[in-house]
Amino acid sequence: MKRLALSLVAITLVVAVTAPSTSAQDTVRLTGSGATFPFPLYAAWFKAFSAKNKTITVDYQGKGSGAGIRDFMNRTVDFAASDAAMTDEEISKVNGGVLLLPMTGGEIVLAYNVPGNPKNLKLPRDVYTAIFLGKITKWSDPKIKAANPGVSLPDQDITVVRRADSSGTTFVFTTHLAAVSEEWAKGPGVGTTVNWPKSDKFVASPKNDGVSATIKQTPGAIGYLEYAFAKFAKLDTALVQNRAGHYVAPGGEGGPAALGSVKLPPDLRAWVSDPTDAKAYPIATYTWLLFYKEGKDPKKAAAMRDLVEFCLTEGQKTSAQMGYIPLPPSVVDVVRKASAAIR
């Protein structure tokens, strides 16, 4: 009995001490859902933001871009995130309008597992499209050898690892392949899932983690995934030939150069399908946060404007080291101006 009384006293004390600093009325709780690819970055940003602004908590669930857009259209969240922006049809269904704000960018890498562990393999444009079309099937193919003189390549079958679930990553990657190769555009085409070549050497795994695990476990594998995941899993990544003919490694200046080479239209929706800049890494994309232009709660809108400002200033400093592309300064200004429309 005594112990119970003591603990009751302790609890009331704790409540009394903590209550004034965050009273229930001042706290704003923002919920969002969507893209999984920027999830690690957003999670870190939102945590830092909540730590700085004690009265605002941000919950973000990485469900996938499609699910995020659906939640957003059903108005079950305050904001959403998508790698595939939103289509015109989807936008037209949101009363009051949608604000699409690019927040960061990502590169899609070609990660491989070749016996002998040759580093920094160079893959020309016609070679990687042919690999994903199932036309080049051996690592010792003369075309790969020609691009990598002095590298010993084994006589091993190439196993292509792709995403099994429908994903924004596949969308960005197939958009690029279709821009490079007419055969790809006419064959598998562009989409969050496409009709891949039928072959014993094409396997699919769920999510970025599944693809990276399968590549790691399969000698002779090559697959596409977000740079952040490949970096985290310490996979070998290829140097990819860009439009200007240069071989560019992911994770360097190539990402910002790719994003910078595209002019953003007024709705801030642009695809970097095949950047022209000589320094650009060829397969890159923006990823967006989605906000309502006519929300229900002005307090929440104010909190979200603060959140965007934080992401554009503090946030951009951490994106590169986490494997994402920081926004070019000109884009930051544009996004900041646009964010005033969050209501």
Binding site: G64, G66, D165, N195, K198, T214, Q217, T218, G220
Partner: protein, 323 residues
């Protein structure tokens, strides 16, 4: 006077008196709850069918039976077919049932037919039942990081030596039918083993003693007397295990390779209905949800058919056993 006293004393202390009004209420209440439970199960099933059927109706209408016989899944062009998924679901489940069923029944015999000290058998039983508690994702990861590398040399050898047999007609690159079926077999093992054990334990010990008394050896007693007597229960365990294999999702999605092709080779990647559903729902648009719901209906129909065939065989077997 005396007899009356005795009667009233008896009714006060005896349990065999007429039920009190409270007992009536409890009895009625329990019966009502039991009936309600049964009806709720039916209502629930009806609602699930209504919901899936309602959402999948447009898919059924637009794609018809061609959906079951074509093998393209192309969202962009609006072409959908699930023949490879049906094939993969059935083949992976049958393979798993063959492997898991054999080992599960063998295990049940080993644990119930006095091969082990009772306490040791209890430990084994608990360990096998623990297998059922491992999450599907863990099985998937284990398969990817352990089973695939472990069977790769075996697969390479089989392909090199026996490649002319269609079952070994391709090389194993990583995920594929063989690792998926092996892991699936382990996943249905606890179901098969536990229910088969119950079935074998239900056979009266006297029957076994009678068999021994007639001069059978231990194996003859097990194979010719115990197993046939417990056969309906064992068969039931196989049907349940098969049902579980049909619906298993996450481990298969990680291991089967998710390739929409039909290949006889065990080492080729394939696909299953459950994996298709799990992987495509989160990002599906309206049209795709409709066809996925259609695929769900097909999976339900397959499961129902398996259960009905199982039930039928079981009835036939028990009728034969009685005759």
């Amino acid at each position: 006077m005396k007899t009356l006293d005795r009667e009233s004393a008896a009714s006060a202390s005896s349990v065999s008196g007429p039920p009190s009004s409270v007992e009536y209420v409890v009895d009625r209440g329990f019966r009502f709850l039991a009936r309600l439970g049964v009806w709720l199960v039916l209502v629930l099933l009806g609602m699930i069918l209504w919901e899936i059927g309602g959402k999948g109706w447009a898919g059924v209408r637009d794609y018809g039976l061609g959906f079951l016989t074509s093998s393209t899944w192309d969202v962009g062009r609006g072409q959908f077919g699930i023949l490879p998924h049906i094939w993969g679901t059935l083949v992976s489940s049958l393979l798993a049932l063959a492997i898991g069923g054999f080992f599960g029944v063998a295990m049940a015999i080993f644990l119930t037919q006095d091969f082990l000290a009772p306490r040791l058998a209890q430990i084994f039983r608990t360990v096998v039942e623990l297998l059922a508690a491992i999450p599907s994702v863990v099985y998937g990861l284990w398969g990817l990081f352990f089973v695939v590398p472990a069977i790769r040399p075996v697969a390479a050898w089989l392909h090199a030596k026996l490649g002319w047999i269609p079952f070994f007609g391709s090389t194993l690159s990583g995920p594929g039918m063989a690792p998926a079926a092996l892991v699936l077999a382990i996943m249905i093992l606890p179901t098969v083993a536990a229910i088969s054990q119950d079935a074998l334990r239900l056979v009266p010990y006297k029957i076994k003693e009678a068999a021994y008394g007639m001069g059978t050896t231990r194996w003859e007693a097990i194979l010719k007397v115990m197993l046939p007597t417990a056969s309906t229960g064992i068969f039931g365990s196989l049907v349940l295990g098969f049902g579980r294999a049909l619906g298993e999702t996450m481990a298969l999605a990680m291991l089967i390779g998710n390739s929409n092709q039909i290949s006889l080779s065990f080492f080729s990647p394939a696909n299953t209905l459950a994996a298709l559903l799990a992987l495509n729902f989160p990002e599906a648009g309206k049209r795709e949800v409709e066809v996925l719901m259609y695929a769900t209906l097909v999976l339900l129909a397959i499961t129902l058919a398996v259960n009905m065939v199982g039930e039928g065989i079981m009835r036939l077997a028990s009728r034969k056993a009685r005759a």
